[in-house]
Symmetry: C2
Subunit: 305 residues, 2 copies
């Protein structure tokens, strides 16, 4: 913990002006932690919208102009576009530019960075903010999106201490609680707590959709269905990329699930009510006391400035 | 629809003073639709608590005294206790007593009623209120629990019109939107939209609990996990009974799920991103526009009184 205020960002480049990148820009502007924000989106209408909403100060016409002279770059495109984005920006990055991202998977992002960022990989500090909203898009960007949320940094062995400090400060100033872990551990954890639940929710809805009574099902579904399936309305582009990027860890989590499901089905078929009850009890014992953000983030280092 | 006010209940018996029965008693008292409420719970402490909270006006020491002289009886025990409860009350029911229940399964409840209620089955109108709370128990009983919720009646061919009218009025006065369907259709629909999601959430949590990193998983889980697993903290007694009572319909829904899951897994293993994206898109198309209670309940017959 340092009581020294982190250095202000002069010029921030947001690559992919959506909910995640836009929310970071708004939070950093509100904290007066950034001089100017340059934004790029492949779709010109999106970057013009970001400009008109005041999320960015300048809309760059291409990736080269977006990153030129930027001291910090946030890669906020879908995970599937990260590799080609890195190829395009690497020759134009300032020699001391610090880079971070917002991808939900990390091992593959690290591989891409090692393949495409050249010596800039020293200052690429991968990040996964555990935050989101039901609706994507820069029009939903919100300076409070990261407030009290966790951001996982999967720092690389070759990262400089200065780059890590810059990225850590950036996310803390957005209001987040920063946690560091390896890319492999990150991908195992998020396969377990996020990617598998999405896969199950998507499969569950597809299983219903295959039945003739689907309209009756939807008309009578209650609050349990609402909560269980909220994630089943998620973005297809993003999730196609996540399933591609983190396949091994997801396959492994799926096996754990299928083993538990098989035990349940065996007990159901046998009418083994003692086993069914024990199975539900174990679930309840684990889930009932759990709460989101049970660990209160420490922000002493910011409030003491 | 009738503009005539439904007849007031003189003496209401609540068998099983918990969240569901207690909330019905409070709603009917608030509407001044009931003279006195007699309550029975197997555990004497529970019925004394219900009495001290004003949920019931008299605590009956046994089932016989609970139902004696009652013109309406609500069976609100766990589904697994319904058969033995029916056996115990049948000889003591008033000749014109109207009976309803709050069970989450219906085919088995109807079988029990036909086996154990004798001629009283004419006035047994099975009900399933689609309502609940995170915490069970009479201390959470709430006169608003059924407000704008659906209550499914699975009326029997031998039901009298008077009994159906009494039970319909009772639930409408609790604030609910009453829907009628067959016990078999009810059980298929709720296997699909409630019992299967519970089974999947219980299995998912058991699959996590089997892994050494479970504490790390829980520490980093986010809002998606919170919503997807809310139902995994549900009551083991209740769910053991539901899985026993509605086994056939649940097994059938589980097969639909497993087929969809298998298609997903095949695409994942093959790295078939087009199929993965189409699968997520289909889920999103169905789930994203869905909202709870999209159909506004009509309560004209009550408001015109």
């Amino acid at each position: 913990m340092s009581t020294r205020a982190p250095a202000r960002i002069r010029r921030l480049a947001i690559i992919g002006c959506g909910l995640m990148g836009g929310s970071a820009a708004l939070a950093l502007k509100r904290a007066e932690h950034v001089g100017e924000v340059v934004g790029y989106s492949r779709n010109p209408a999106t970057r013009e919208l970001a400009l008109s909403l005041g999320v960015i100060d300048q809309a760059a016409p291409d990736l080269e102009q977006a990153v030129q002279g930027a001291d910090v770059v946030i890669l906020a495109t879908p995970v599937g576009a990260l590799a080609s984005t890195m190829v395009a920006i690497a020759p134009h990055l300032a020699a001391d530019a610090v880079i971070t991202d917002v991808g939900s998977t990390k091992s593959d992002v690290v591989r891409h960075a090692q393949a495409h960022l050249g010596m800039h990989v020293m200052r690429f500090v991968p990040a996964h903010p555990i935050a989101g909203k039901e609706h994507a898009g820069v029009e939903h960007a919100d300076a409070d999106l990261y407030e009290n949320r966790k951001v996982i940094l999967t720092t690389l062995p070759q990262n400089t201490l200065g780059a890590i400090a810059t990225v850590e400060a950036l996310w803390r100033i957005c209001g987040a609680d920063v946690v560091t872990m390896s890319p492999q551990d990150h991908d195992t954890v998020f396969a377990a707590v996020s990617h598998l639940p999405h896969l199950l929710a998507f499969s569950y809805i597809n299983g219903l959709a295959n039945q003739a009574q689907i309209d009756q099902f939807l008309a009578l579904a209650g609050p349990g269905f609402r909560d269980f399936t909220r994630i089943a309305g998620a973005n297809p582009d993003m999730w196609r990329d996540v399933f591609g990027s983190n396949r091994n860890a997801i396959q492994s989590q799926l096996q754990h699930f299928k083993q538990a499901l098989q035990r349940f089905e065996t007990a159901l078929d046998a009418g083994d009510s003692a086993t069914l009850e024990a199975f539900v009890q174990r679930s309840r014992d684990l889930r009932a006391p759990w709460t989101l953000n049970a660990i209160i983030p420490s922000r002493d280092d910011l409030t003491q400035q």
